[in-house]
């Protein structure tokens, strides 16, 4: 039943309030340019030329996540994001409760695929944060698997510090960005 209302809400928000109440993830596109710069000679310098060609366009599907503020805070299933302490992938008791509720839901609804998206705040190097996001999403994945969710149904992705929720540069912003989003 919960799932039904979730789908209904997604459809409603997707049609009427996209980008407002829901945070919308747009499909990615890629354009590759080519450029040529010749090396330089001893006395006569050679110039540079470039030509641009768009290629390799790829548009992925759209994923819509419901902002947790619009959800029932007492229902852990209504929370799709769990938060972490700085440089930590340990789940807080609250996060544990949310993750376990989703794990239960997924085990009772086999066949559903879930994506666990790990994120980090901007402190520390980008590559370290990519690994930290990976470790966070994996920490959630471990609980899912321990509670019986099929490993094949789980996909983990880390975006490191590249997709912050809050653009601020203080602890209140950082605490929102250290997260795993549970997407299904």
């Amino acid at each position: 039943m919960q799932r039904f209302w979730t789908i209904l809400l997604v459809l409603f928000l997707g049609v009427t309030l996209a980008g407002c109440a829901a945070s919308k993830k747009k499909g990615g596109t890629v354009e590759v340019e080519d450029a040529t710069i010749d090396g330089s000679g001893a006395d006569v310098t050679t110039g540079a030329s470039a030509s641009g060609v768009d290629s390799d366009d790829a548009t992925a599907g759209e994923i819509i996540i419901i902002d947790q503020n619009d959800s029932d805070v007492d229902d852990p299933l209504g929370q799709r994001v769990v938060y972490f302490d700085f440089d930590s992938s340990n789940l807080t008791p609250e996060a544990q409760r949310v993750v376990e509720a989703h794990a239960q839901y997924l085990t009772s609804n086999p066949g559903m695929a879930v994506v666990l998206e790990g994120h980090a705040d901007e402190r520390g190097t980008r590559e370290y944060n990519l690994a930290l996001g990976e470790r966070r999403s994996n920490a959630v994945s471990q609980i899912f698997q321990a509670m019986g969710v099929a490993p094949d149904a789980i996909r983990t992705i880390s975006y490191g510090e590249e997709r912050p929720i809050s653009m601020g540069q203080d602890e209140s912003a950082w605490s929102l960005n250290r997260r795993v989003e549970i997407l299904y």
Partner: protein
């Protein structure tokens, strides 16, 4: 038929010329401009007279300004202000050495730009030893307008070499990533290449909502490896892009994600980070063979590999003892040795060309945030060179004299250059949004 064929060829030639004008990077406005943020007057005092323009209209480029900015940015020179010059020679025969001894210049640069024809110029310069009253070096170049900046960087390289004995690195290229928020809230990423001073920037990749990070130049400067995402469904992967051909491919498909590419000095291998089933370790991939070899095996995070200049070792970041620190491992694997012990954390290290110093991101604790440091493995000492709170991605110039890194000005990310001794710092100010992830090419 013959005439119409000629007409067709003419039209084709005209089309080609028009196309060249539109796509020529020299015609693009400079996207990065230099802003001097800090400079101590402790380098060699050098005077650079304005290059004399011998032609019609305005000079096509201010060569003196480009050379002066290059020399200042290196931290080795104190550029004396033209307002104090008593004369303005453009050639050794016009120089009165006492004019320059009076303002305490040790060396003097003089030069000319001469218009030789339509879009054709001759540039000459001389570097003079003010106390010995002799020419240290003098050279002549021919170029078109679009090539004049490169000529200026080559002049800077020659002056730097004559004055320091170290090969100059101004006529080199850098890569970096920009991110701009579109009106629709999309994150638009561009992978850019530019001259070492940020001018002549060109976009070589543009993605929407798919982050781009960690560009790494191949040793011959022909290819860039970088991290990006192919869609919203799969994790990070390492891509290889041929710069002149404009083609790219993922280096391999991994069970998990791949990131942090680092070219071996011979250009045959890429060290990279592979995250699989929650474990992040360092691997070495044969660029052509595709053969993947695991280098570290530890449940902690191992990432950000970088090769020693002789190719025998790799340094990397690991949190195996709690906080991130720098470790070193043989290219054949085996036990990793911890290098950094000072500071709360250290990450993102890479070697200078001598292999005696590492540049890294250091956090000294007590809420100091992240700065750029130079670490000496032999003594264990770290010199902190910057004073930002989120400084990162340091990259040595090919001659080891300067370090390019990413810092913040307000909310925006900008690139900055600090001399390797920390004396001079300059911001390369951008109009391209949030700028980050610089990488300095080893060769042009």
């Amino acid at each position: 038929m013959v005439t119409s064929m000629k007409g067709f060829q003419k039209a084709l030639a005209l089309l080609f010329v028009v196309a060249m004008v539109f796509i020529h990077p020299g015609s693009a406005a400079a996207a990065l401009t230099i802003e001097i943020t800090q400079g101590e007057r402790s380098g060699i005092p050098v005077a650079a007279a304005p290059f004399r323009w011998q032609g019609t209209g305005d000079p096509p480029e201010n060569l003196r300004a480009i050379v002066a900015a290059d020399l200042h940015r290196s931290g080795r020179f104190d550029l004396l202000s033209p307002a104090d010059y008593l004369s303005s020679p453009s050639e050794v025969s016009e120089v009165r050495y006492k004019d320059w001894r009076l303002i305490k210049a040790e060396a003097l640069v003089v030069g000319r730009i001469t218009e030789k024809g339509p879009d054709q110029f001759e540039v000459s310069f001389q570097l003079l030893d003010v106390y010995r009253e002799r020419v240290k070096v003098g050279l002549r170049y021919t170029a078109n307008a679009a090539q004049l900046r490169q000529v200026a960087h080559q002049i800077s390289d020659r002056i730097f070499y004559e004055m320091t004995g170290i090969k100059g690195a101004f006529d080199t290229r850098i890569a970096y990533v920009t991110m701009q928020l579109s009106d629709g809230g999309d994150r638009v990423y561009q992978l850019m290449i530019a001259d070492s001073d940020g001018h002549n920037s060109q976009q070589i990749l543009k993605t929407t909502n798919l982050p781009v990070l960690s560009p790494a130049w191949s040793p011959n400067g022909q290819r860039l490896a970088y991290v990006s995402f192919s869609d919203n469904q799969s994790g990070a992967n390492v891509w290889l892009q041929d710069i002149s051909a404009g083609t790219r491919r993922p280096v391999a498909r991994f069970d998990g994600s791949a990131s942090a590419p680092a070219w071996s000095p011979d250009g045959k291998s890429l060290a990279l980070t592979v995250s699989s089933r929650g474990n992040t370790d360092i691997y070495v991939l044969g660029v052509e063979s595709g053969e993947l070899r695991r280098l570290t095996k530890h449940p902690a995070i191992d990432t950000e590999p970088a090769w020693s200049p002789d190719g025998r070792y790799l340094v990397f970041t690991s949190d195996r003892n709690g906080r991130p620190h720098i470790y070193r491992v043989s290219r054949n694997g085996g036990k990793a040795e911890r290098l950094t012990r000072e500071g709360k954390e250290n990450a993102g290290a890479s070697y200078d060309p001598t292999g005696k110093r590492l540049v890294l991101v250091t956090n000294r604790g007590q809420g100091a945030g992240y700065q750029i440091g130079v670490f000496y493995p032999e003594s264990g000492r770290t010199d902190v060179l910057t004073d930002g709170t989120l400084d990162e991605s340091p990259t040595f110039s090919p001659n080891g004299a300067m370090i390019l890194y990413a810092t913040r000005m307000g909310r925006d990310g900008v690139l900055a250059v600090v001399s390797a001794d920390g004396r001079v710092r300059q911001v390369l100010k951008s109009t391209e949004g949030d700028v980050r992830e610089p990488a300095w090419a080893a060769s042009r």
